[in-house]
């Protein structure tokens, strides 16, 4: 399996970051960084990461099912994550979530037909003092109002 040069460099650095014989430590970071490039945790990615860190694909499967950011199915190009946990809830994060579902016609962990946007109702993402918060891929959006959410989604629909 081939990756971009940047990702290869990152993998090399990761595999050198841990004590000798402890390369398995790179497993979760490699899966997450790999997913960012490949689009999901594909069977091929599992085999490749397993080979590089020296475990079996089964061991990789066992680990990846634990982590909520690792996805076996491809997400949308823009993965919109809306927090409805307590601090965001107090600033109507739940209403933002309902609004986004209605506007896009999709639900939790679903993708729009064109593959452009996916939605996920997420647990606390660490933006509690600037609630309600939304994350698009890794970008944070704070103090999101219904109007700001509409603009955000409209722009994502058009964005290349």
């Amino acid at each position: 399996m081939t990756f971009s040069l940047q990702l290869e460099a990152r993998f090399d650095k990761l595999l050198k970051s841990y004590p000798p014989g402890r390369q398995r430590s790179a497993l979760v970071p490699m899966l997450l960084y790999g997913q960012d490039e490949v689009g999901s945790i594909s069977d091929e990615l599992i085999d490749e990461v397993a080979r590089r860190v020296g475990v079996t694909p089964l061991q990789v499967n066992e680990v990846l099912s634990y982590y909520s950011m690792l996805h076996r199915k491809p997400l949308g190009k823009y993965h919109v994550q809306i927090c409805t946990n307590i601090s965001c809830l107090l600033w109507d994060g739940d209403k933002l979530w309902e609004r986004a579902c209605k506007k896009l016609g999709i639900g939790h962990k679903e993708v729009t037909a064109d593959g452009q946007i996916s939605l996920e109702e997420v647990e606390c993402m660490g933006a509690c003092s600037w609630a309600p918060a939304v994350q698009v891929n890794y970008d944070f959006h704070h103090f999101v109002t219904p109007e700001k959410l509409d603009d955000l989604l409209d722009n994502l629909r058009k964005k290349q």
Partner: protein, 437 residues
């Protein structure tokens, strides 16, 4: 960058560089006494470093509040095994967003804290575990680490002291449980984040089965100031049994939510009224959570005379926790709040301990039923009973974290559960929908 306006009532120790241009750069850091605490510590004996941390009354800022100096003293320095410094930057306790600000605005302060901890326990490598959602902070931290290597503040023979130290970032991938220290260590080793049975504690058997100092981001960030100005100066900022400042995240129904650095022991009322700009829309305070969603809830009456420190919160049978303050006004439905908190713990339970795995799921279902108007009077007691049966019966504190707020909400806001009985729709939600219609 800062996401909220600072408050004049803050005491700037960990955040002292935040208002400077390029506060995250090594040039800014070095121009403002940066790395001087490391130089000072390198000239001290390890025991003297630990002694200053003990004198400072610094207590773990992740939530448990364990005395940091004591924790460091448990590391067997004479062990032939390598020792490790591990930074818990998994910040996932609902209501908490302070470590994010610390790393983003002053990453070198964290590096220096790790170096000093390394000197104190004879560790020569460290890992900064950062939650997966904070991807941009991995980039910030990697950049700062690269700068530190270039300028000789990391690597071999740092600044001619003869001390070697390597530092690495490690990303999580979405798991609240990995903020628990032993689960974090499992995760760092490329496994599922399931807690370890203790003892042995990480100080003796931690990362890679070696002695390890494991502290929260904020804890390490306090260390340079302690060594620079002396433990006594740091202790004097706080209250008798807890020194320094606390990064406090005001969240919920206040006019100016934000992250503020407040001296330990800051009065709760003043924090809400003056730092937080008062309650939103002039509403009354109904409920107050001092340090993240796992802490028992206080009523407005219980907040009278309370201060933000371990003892004051302990007297009120809650905890200072992580500094994630959650403020709820009179219109908040406490059943809904309990439900949302329980949904979180049910989602995050790793499933290893049955009382937690089953308890959180049952409670989520019962609370959901209740909020939908299908609850019975017996359910109110059942919620309390199940929660109490989870307490102390799990390997890690996640079970307790789910049970404690729930027990307090049922005890203190029982009437709100009764308001949902007999098929009645949520009285609080209902009013809101009327307005919206």
């Amino acid at each position: 960058m800062l996401y909220n306006e600072p408050s004049p009532l803050e005491t700037r120790v960990l955040t002292r560089r935040f208002s400077l241009p390029n506060s995250a750069s090594i040039d800014t850091y070095l121009a403002t006494e940066g790395y001087q605490a490391f130089v000072k510590a390198a000239g001290m004996k390890p025991d003297e470093v630990i002694e200053q941390v003990k004198i400072s009354n610094l207590r773990g800022r992740g939530g448990a509040g364990f005395p940091t100096g004591m924790k460091w003293s448990f590391v067997p320095r004479s062990s032939p095994k390598p020792k490790y410094i591990v930074v818990n930057g998994d910040e996932s306790e609902p209501g908490t967003c302070k470590d994010r600000v610390l790393i983003e605005n002053d990453p070198h302060q964290l590096i220096e804290g790790c170096l000093i901890a390394g000197l104190a326990v004879d560790a020569h490598a460290g890992y900064i575990y950062i939650r997966g959602e904070y991807r941009y902070l991995i980039e910030v931290m990697d950049k700062a680490i690269a700068e530190a290597y270039e300028r000789g503040w990391l690597g071999k023979n740092i600044q001619g002291t003869g001390f070697d130290f390597d530092l690495y970032t490690h990303t999580g991938a979405g798991a609240y449980e990995c903020g628990e220290e032993s689960a974090l260590l499992e995760s760092l080793e490329g496994k599922r984040g399931i807690p370890r049975i203790r003892p042995p504690f990480p100080a003796v058997v931690g990362a890679f089965q070696c002695p390890t100092v494991l502290n929260n981001v904020e804890t390490y960030c306090a260390v340079p100031a302690i060594i620079r100005d002396g433990g006594a100066a740091f202790a004097a900022l706080g209250v008798p049994k807890a020194g320094g400042t606390k990064m406090t995240c005001l969240t919920g129904h206040v006019n100016k939510p934000g992250v503020y650095e407040l001296r330990m022991g800051f009065p709760v009322k003043q924090m809400i009224e003056e730092v937080g700009g008062g309650m939103r829309n002039g509403k009354k305070l109904k409920a107050f959570i001092p340090g993240g969603s796992s802490c028992p809830v206080l009523t407005a009456e219980e907040c009278e005379g309370a201060t933000m420190d371990y003892d004051s919160m302990g007297q009120r049978k809650t905890m200072l926790g992580s500094g994630g303050v959650i403020i709820m006004d009179e219109d908040t439905c406490m059943v809904k709040a309990a439900l949302r908190i329980m949904r979180f713990y049910a989602h995050e339970s790793c499933g290893w301990c049955i009382p937690c795995r089953e308890g959180t799921t049952w409670l989520r279902k019962i609370l959901q039923r209740f909020h939908d108007g299908q609850g019975t009077r017996n359910d109110i007691n059942l919620i309390g009973d199940i929660s109490k049966n989870m307490l102390g019966r799990t390997f890690c504190p996640l079970g307790d974290a789910a049970a404690m707020p729930t027990i307090s909400i049922v005890e203190k806001f029982r009437h709100e559960f009764e308001d949902h009985l007999n098929g009645k729709p949520c009285p609080y939600e209902h009013a809101e929908h009327m307005v919206m219609a």
